[in-house]
Each structure stands twice: as C-alpha cells, then as structure tokens.
C-alpha cells in the first residue's frame, strides 16, 4: 500500500488520469467489450488524436512558462491552407503530385509555425503583452486571413497524394499520423527532460523576474517556446488536412479549448512552472478513449463527449483539491 502511495505521490497528475482510465476501461469491458476492445477501434483512435494532440503539446510548453497559446487553431488552418495552395500552384487541381513533395509541404508548415510563433513571442516578450491576449489576437488575425484567402469556403480540389499517404497506415496497421505525433512527442520530451531547456522553462514559469536576474536569456527562451508551439500546431494542421482531405478557415474551431483542457488535465499548472509531457499524453489518450467509448453506445448522443470532457476536467480539479487538503491545513 505504501508503495502505491509513494508512486502516486511521485506523479499524482498521471496516476490520477491512469486511475480514471482504468475505471473507464473496466466499465467498457463490462458493457461494450466486443465493440470497444478491437484492434480496429484502437487504430482509429490512434489515427484521430494526433491533430489536436500536436496542438496540445505545443500549448503545454507555453503553459509551463505561465503563458498560453490560443492561436493554435488559426496557425493549423493557415498552414493547411498555404500547403493546399502550394500544391495547387505546382501541380494544378488534379495532380498528380510526387509524394516526395510532401517534404516541401512540411517545410511550409514549419515555416508558417516559425513566423506565427515569432510574432507571438515578439508581442509577449518584447512588448509585454499578456500571452492570452497576444495569441488571441493572432488567432483572430490568422483566421481572418484564412477567410480572405479561401473566401470562407472549403478548398478541396487539389492533388490528394499527401492526404492519402498521411491518412493511411504504415505497414498496414500503424496510422502514419500517429508516427508524426510520436516523433514530435519524443522531440519535445527530449527538449524538456534531456536538455537544459526544460529546467529553464520551468524556472521561468515559476518566476520570470528571477529568471532574468539569474541570467537566463528570457527573450530567446520565449521565442523558442512559442515557435515550437506554433510549429506543433502547424503540423497538427497538416494532420487535419490529411483527415478532412480539404482545408477551410474554420476547421477544428473547438480544438483550442480542447488543447487547453488536455494540457490542464495533464497536470500542467496554468500559473506556470509545473508540467510533464507524460501527463499530457496520458490525458490525450484518456480523452480519446472516453470519446470513442461513448460513440460505441448507439443510444447516447455524441454530444455527450463534450459534457464528459468538462466533467473529467472538473473531477480532476476536485480530486486534486481533496488530495491536497490535509497539506494545506497544516
């Protein structure tokens, strides 16, 4: 028992989520075992979460600094629209497009991310605009530009080789989108746990003022963080493009809130200074499982997913509140 307790103490955010996940899996086992526990179902789930999962990973970094990135969806759509227009420009509406051109598409997405992230970081770090407002304004601006580019409608006539490839599976069963997600997740994990960046990020999030006094190059740190976040979001946009096979200014409009929800659920403090990637990934997987599980019940509206997400978030907060109670009275 003591051992369990000490494991829980060590990483309470993740343990808490794993606990909820276990309960949910047991519940599904008794009710929908034959439909839920199938290889196909897990594969579908694995193919679906990368788009907003990527946005959540970027947002996590910003939140560890005590900031937030509300521009993820705008960035994602901007990246996918720019990619679509590039494909159209070079290969016409029909194609064909050589698959190797995907490298250019990724480059475009990364470049979009770098530009957006730099502007965000400039506003936040150099002008001192509160992150929530800077990124909110950027999101509005990007969405607006997307509408201007597309006239507000979906763009779907472009070569589909990119979409087909990335909506497909590797070796017949591993979704390629999942691979992209895993690569990015490993990179971010590496940055956080194996480089000095992670320590600097957490300390900056604890107290930006002290960080400056300690000689941390805070401008560089913020630029790096917001650029990484925007690049993640742009890659998420490409995954979205693969899923929908079209680009539009208002795809994934509720992903912003979803991304933040995932990050917070994953144990990242919105005040900054605290957070682990393991928690956020667990949160992403958990919510996908809940969502997919609910969809197995015919009689239950899919809209209950949103309700349950909210409930899980508040439940996590309340569990936190009561598990910390004895400490605070002391």
């Amino acid at each position: 028992m003591n051992k369990v307790k000490s494991i829980y103490r060590k990483n309470p955010e993740m343990s808490r989520l794993l606990l909820i996940m276990a309960c949910w899996l047991i519940f599904m086992m008794f009710t929908q075992a034959e439909k839920f526990f199938t290889g196909i179902n897990f594969l579908t789930m694995a193919g679906q979460f990368p788009e907003y999962g990527l946005m959540a990973l970027g947002c996590m970094l910003c939140m560890i600094t005590g900031g937030i990135d509300l521009s993820v969806v705008g960035t994602a759509n901007m990246a996918s629209i720019l990619s679509v227009y590039t494909m159209m420009h070079f290969f016409g509406e029909e194609g064909p497009m050589p698959l190797s051109f995907s490298a250019v598409i990724f480059l475009i997405a990364i470049l979009t991310g770098v530009v957006v992230g730099s502007v965000n970081a400039f506003l936040i770090s150099c002008l001192g605009v509160p992150p929530i407002l800077a990124t909110l304004g950027m999101n509005e601006l990007l969405t607006g530009l997307c509408i201007v580019f597309t006239n507000g409608s979906a763009v779907s006539s472009f070569p589909k080789q990119f979409c087909d490839f990335f909506s497909g599976n590797f070796m017949g069963f591993i979704p390629r989108r999942l691979i992209v997600f895993i690569v990015v997740a490993v990179l971010i994990w590496f940055m956080l746990e194996k480089c000095t960046y992670g320590t600097k990020l957490r300390l900056y999030g604890t107290n930006a003022h002290v960080a400056k006094f300690s000689g941390i190059n805070t401008h560089a740190l913020l630029f790096r963080t917001y650029i990484t976040s925007s690049v993640c979001a742009a890659l998420g946009g490409l995954m979205m493009l693969a899923t929908y096979s079209s680009a539009r200014a208002d795809y994934g409009s509720n992903y912003t809130m979803q991304a933040i929800l995932l990050v917070v659920l994953g144990g990242v403090s919105p005040n900054g200074g605290k957070g682990k990637i393991s928690g956020v990934i667990t949160a992403i997987v958990l919510l996908k499982m809940i969502e997919s599980g609910i969809n197995r019940f015919r009689s239950v509206s899919t809209y209950y997913v949103t309700l349950i997400w909210g409930a899980v978030l508040i439940l996590a907060l309340v569990i936190d509140y009561f598990s910390q109670k004895p400490k605070s009275t002391k």
């Binding site: 194996k194 320590t199 957490r202 604890t206 107290n207 002290v210 006094f213 300690s214 000689g215 200074g273």
Partner: protein, 494 residues
C-alpha cells in the same frame, strides 16, 4: 504592580507534528512599548496570530484587560481593541486611500451600501489622528512603502485600539522614515496605547522599547526591562550561541584591479561614478535608499545599463547590457529582495543552485549533463552548509538564512571574479547573518572581489576593507574602514 493589559501564559500550539509554540508566556503592560524579538521561525508570528484570533491555541491561558479569554475570533480581537499591522499591511492596492481607511468601519457597521461622503469623512478623521498628510483620492499602489504603513497605522487607530501589534514595521523603511515612525509610536504611547513591536534588529529594540521578550524555537527565553539588556545578552538570548565578530582582514589582495568603473552615469540615478576593486577585497558601498546605490548595482549587472562611462574588467573595457553579459564577464549579483528577485521559491533547491551556470552543464552533444548537475548541487550544498535533507525539496522548505545561501551558491557555482551583494543580510537572523559574513570573508580571501551594498553600517565596517559613501548619485567620500566611525559615514550619507 500595575495590572497587565495582555497576559498570555503557557500558550501551546502545534501544526501536525510541529510544535510551533511549546510553552510561551508574554505580558504586556498598558501603555508600554514592548519588543518581541527572536530569530525567524521562533514563533513570533504564531503568537501574534493567536492573540489576533487567526489561530486557536492548543493550551494555556490568555487574559486581556483582566478578562480571561477562552476562544478568540478575529472580530473579537478587533472589538477588544487589538489591532495588527502586518508586514504587507493588508491594504488594497487598487483602491483609494480613503476607501482603504473606511472599508473596515463600513463593513463592521453591517450596512449594505457605501456612502462616499461618509467614506471621506471617516478617512479624514483617521489621518488627522496622526497628522498624516496624504491625498485621500490616490490609489494605495501609488504610495511609497512608508506612506502605506501610515495608512495601515491610521486604519488601526480608528477602532479605539488598546494594543497595536506591529510585525517588523521597519524592514522596508529608510532611516528617516524609521525615525518618523518612532515618533508616532511614542505619540501613541502618550495616548495610552500599548505597542507590541516585533523586530530582530538590536538597535531598534534598544531605541524604542520599554520592555522586551525574546523567543527561541517556540519557547520564551527571556523577558524584562530593556535597560537590563545589552548587545551580548541580546544575541545570546536570540541564538543560544555566542559570537565573536571577526573583523575582515584582507589576506590575498591582487595588484591589478579586477573591476574598474570610469565615470559611470545613469540619468536620474547616479553620475560620474569611478572606483576600482581588486581581487580579495571587500568593498562596501553605502548610502540612503534613494542615493542611487541600487541602480549602480543594477548597472554593473546589466539590468539597467548605464548611459555613459566605462566598465573595465581585468583592465579591458567591456559592454554589459544584460545579466547574461555580466555573467559571461564573471560578475554576479545577489539582489536586494531575495524572495522576489533571487529565488524560485517553489522549485527545487538543486535547480535554484545550478540555474545560472546551467549552460556550462551541457554534454558535448548539447544534452543536459545530469550527473554533473548533481555533483555541482552536492558540492555547493556541502560547501555552504545548506541545511536540507534533500536538495530536490522546494526552496520554500528552508529558513531565510539558508535561502540566502542558495542565492550565494548559485553565483559561486558560476566561478565568478566579482560578486555584488545588495543588502546581503536583510531579513536574515543573527546566527545566519554571522555565518554569511564568515562565508563572504572566506571567499574574498580565496581571491574573489566582493562588493557589499548595505546601509547596515556595523555590517559594512566589520566586513569591508574600504567603504564608498554615495549621496544623491555621486560618490561623497571613501574611507578605510579601520579608520572610520559610524557617525562619520552617517554625516556623509545625510
């Protein structure tokens, strides 16, 4: 024998397993100025919170005005005439002075609406009591610390206080302001109000109080008339140790200066500052709070780059426009306000120690060398005798003195040539203060150039080899500390 105003006997309280107060007694006579002293964590704040009803005691008796009190709530305490002025003053920075003064009265009256004319009237009466002149419509966040304190005192006086408790009221005040505060305290005394004055500054205790009580580790160590107290006894009661203050004698001074300033000027802060520092020296810089001494330190560290003039490091001019460049030039800075500028309180002791040298803890491939990190942490925890069981605990778990040592460790880990300390022992108790002085002296003798910026003159005279006095942004004078008296320095400061 006069009847006591407050008599607390054998008071006990514990939080979890921690016995914050084991058995303390405190007696305050009507209309006296009583000083309660003790090191950080001795239980001073705890007893205040018990008297003012924030905490409930586990045992012991408390009498106020001859009446035995069973349970005290914050409202009871206020109604009996006990007022506490906390260190942060508990004011509302976003509201006007008038509203800050009147809010409690309005709340206590149980009314649901606010009449602004009344608010003004109440506020005017309140400031009139101590002849405090202030714009009532100004927001409190725009006031100076001293003014905020006056607002807090005015507010405390409104409810017919019989006992005012002041929790370390002089911490953030200039000498002049302290003098003004003491005048007001004496005036309150004339009006028959008893003052419980919390402090660990020896000279203040002697100057103002009639009687004293000293706590140590949750126990009462001594109480009596201040007349019977002297420096040695005071220190002994506070710490349980006896110190022989060692006067710094430089042993290892380099020939060439390590740091030189030439005509350094920052508009509106200081002008034409020139001096040089050699390795192995401890240079004191003193002056009033608004003399520009803090800005000077910030300029040397790149946080407020100077407008003109030169900084020379090892004889070559260097450009320092941000802390990074200062650190690259082997200059470190221990800030004035340890809590808001020096420490990541909720983060681990280990990370706090290595943060400034973090870029040197990389492997060749750019990864974070965790082994080296842990070695560094271990080394500095040992070197500076930081009292912790586990360096992965957050910095909040340490006492003020130990926290200050973390800040020192952070800079020493950077392998510096020059360390600038601004008020190195502000808010640090006597025991730790002594230890920090010893560390600084040792470091200087190992070849570090140290600059101490402080208005604690005994500290400067005891630890520095030379002292510069700054007045209105200019160097007024320079003395050899062996040949100077405190009074000479004070005359130059004012």
């Amino acid at each position: 024998m006069t009847q006591s105003l407050l008599k607390a006997e054998h008071v006990k309280i514990s939080f979890g397993n921690v016995h914050a107060l084991k058995d303390v007694s405190l007696e305050i006579l009507p209309g006296e100025i009583h000083c309660l002293a003790g090191e950080n964590g001795c239980g001073k704040s705890t007893i205040i919170k018990i008297i003012s009803g924030v905490y409930q005691r586990d045992g012991g008796t408390i009498e106020f005005g001859g009446k035995k009190l069973e349970k005290i709530s914050p409202i009871d305490a206020i109604n009996m005439g006990i007022q506490v002025i906390y260190q942060d003053f508990a004011l509302f920075p976003n509201l006007t002075v008038a509203e800050n003064l009147a809010l409690n009265t309005e709340l206590a009256s149980g009314k649901k609406t606010v009449r602004w004319k009344e608010v003004r009237k109440i506020a005017q009466e309140a400031v009139a009591k101590i002849n405090f002149e202030v714009d009532l419509d100004q927001k409190v966040q725009e006031l100076t610390v001293a003014q905020k304190q006056m607002v807090a005192i005015s507010r405390a006086l409104m409810s017919n206080a019989r006992l005012i408790i002041m929790d370390e009221p002089t911490t953030a005040l200039t000498k002049k302001e302290v003098t003004a505060l003491f005048k007001i305290i004496l005036k309150l005394k004339e009006q028959g109000i008893a003052i419980l004055f919390i402090s660990h500054k020896l000279n203040e205790v002697f100057e103002i109080s009639d009687r004293f009580t000293i706590f140590r580790n949750g126990e009462m160590i001594a109480t009596g008339s201040t007349k019977e107290l002297d420096d040695k006894k005071f220190t002994y009661y506070m710490t349980g140790r006896e110190f022989s203050d060692q006067i710094f004698t430089p042993e290892n001074v380099s020939d060439k200066p390590v740091l030189e300033l030439k005509n350094l000027t920052l508009e509106g802060a200081f002008s034409d500052i020139s001096f040089s520092l050699r390795k192995g020296e401890i240079l004191g810089i003193t002056g009033l709070l608004d003399s520009g001494r803090t800005e000077l330190a910030l300029s040397m560290f790149g946080l407020k780059p100077a407008d003109s003039g030169q900084i020379l490091k090892d004889g070559t001019p260097v450009k320092i426009t941000n802390p990074r460049e200062a650190i690259d030039n082997k200059i470190g800075y221990v800030p004035e306000d340890r809590l808001s500028e020096g420490l990541f309180l909720t983060q681990s002791i280990a990370d706090n120690i290595i943060i400034s040298e973090i870029d040197r803890l990389k492997k060749k491939n750019g990864m974070f060398d965790l082994k080296k990190r842990n070695e560094e942490v271990e080394k500095w925890v040992k070197e500076l005798e930081i009292k912790t069981k586990n360096p992965d605990n957050p910095a909040t778990t340490l006492s003020g003195g130990n926290q200050q040592r973390i800040v020192l460790a952070k800079w020493l880990a950077c392998n510096l040539d020059v360390l600038i300390l601004n008020g190195p022992t502000v808010g640090v108790d006597i025991g730790s203060k002594h230890d920090i002085h010893m560390v600084l002296q040792k470091l200087a003798n190992q070849g570090l150039g140290v600059i101490i910026i402080s208005d604690d003159l005994p500290e400067v005279i005891q630890n520095c080899s030379r002292v510069l006095v700054i007045r209105n942004g200019k160097i007024k004078s320079e003395y050899d500390t062996q040949k100077v008296s405190e009074q000479m320095i004070i005359d130059d400061m004012m």
